[in-house]
Symmetry: C2
Subunit: 199 residues, 2 copies
């Protein structure tokens, strides 16, 4: 390609690093921004800057929020005897969208993957155990993704609670095997929460 | 959804305005940025700011570039007797990617759409005509999109050059390279048969 606008190329390159974004979407985004009024672009930039400066890890559940503890941990209306374990904050949001869950969360920020060197320590599973014991949690819902590594991780966590008299459940296979929670429609995800089985 | 991080929500809302981006992609983008080092995020913001301040319309071809005239119009190696008419700068980039075109461009920034009030005046077709006449252009390639409105627009422009002794061509319809005939829609297949060339 003959050298086109350097400014546009640089922004396209930046957008191409976004997940699922290729050359064509990145180009569309750049031209979209070019056509936006300055006020809208300023809003976007402010939102990015605020995100980087304001958002922090919740020291209870390791979710991401503007405050620590996060708004879910700080909410007295939510049942703190039930903990839903998810891989990522994106999965947490997906479950919140179902409006069917009123307990708390624990975010692993990953799955066990010995080949990639990701161990229980990296997922802070010791903190999860401490939290469950300290708070007298009655049920741990394992909502890792319904694929091999999520399953392995769920299995490992289940093992950690063996013999402690804590109910450990796994979201039901109402969700299609091989999918990612993030892309499942809210209704199916809600069904899979309601239909969770003793694990 | 119970109120989650305001910072994240605001960025998700900003990304949702991007073309083809819905709630889920927007959320992914926000979490992606959250995990990026500050230096990468700064690069993105700088690229956006530069884009808005540096990029301008080329007063010849109405493409967008850091300079006016744009780098294509200013390039003496490109044939200025051939003009390729495209709907958008994104289409221009698509053609540049083919590395098969060495002429100049004219960007309409839209298609004729009387119902939406988009007239030849909005597409600056008078400027195109002036450019073609003034420069002694020999061929005008109509590369508007192969759909109804692009076709109408191409047809209209063709009409404007009738009797002027200028060659007006239209990009060929056909089967996409690498496709399987079985899966190509009948209309395209019919067009590719009609437009068959000596082999």
């Amino acid at each position: 390609m003959s050298k086109l606008s350097k400014s546009i190329d640089e922004l396209v390159a930046a957008f191409k690093k976004f997940p699922t974004v290729g050359e064509k979407s990145a180009t569309r985004f750049a031209y979209f921004l070019m056509k936006q009024p300055k006020s809208e672009v300023k809003k976007l930039i402010d939102a990015i800057v605020t995100l980087k400066s304001e958002v922090k890890f919740c020291s209870n559940c390791f979710s991401l929020d503007d405050s620590d503890p996060c708004c879910i941990c700080a909410n007295p209306k939510r049942d703190d005897k039930v903990i839903c374990v998810v891989e990522t904050p994106v999965d947490l949001r997906a479950i919140e969208r179902t409006k069917k869950y009123a307990g708390k969360y624990f975010v692993l920020h990953g799955v066990l993957s010995p080949l990639d060197g990701i161990t229980p320590r990296d997922l802070r599973i010791d903190k999860l155990i401490a939290l469950v014991k300290g708070r007298g949690v009655k049920e741990v819902i394992l909502a890792t993704n319904p694929r091999a590594q999520g399953e392995t991780t769920a299995n490992y966590i289940k093992g950690q609670f063996a013999g402690l008299g804590i109910k450990v459940s796994r979201i039901a296979y109402g969700v299609p095997v091989g999918s990612e929670l993030e892309y499942v429609d809210s209704l199916s995800l809600a069904r899979s929460l309601e239909g969770r089985v003793q694990y």
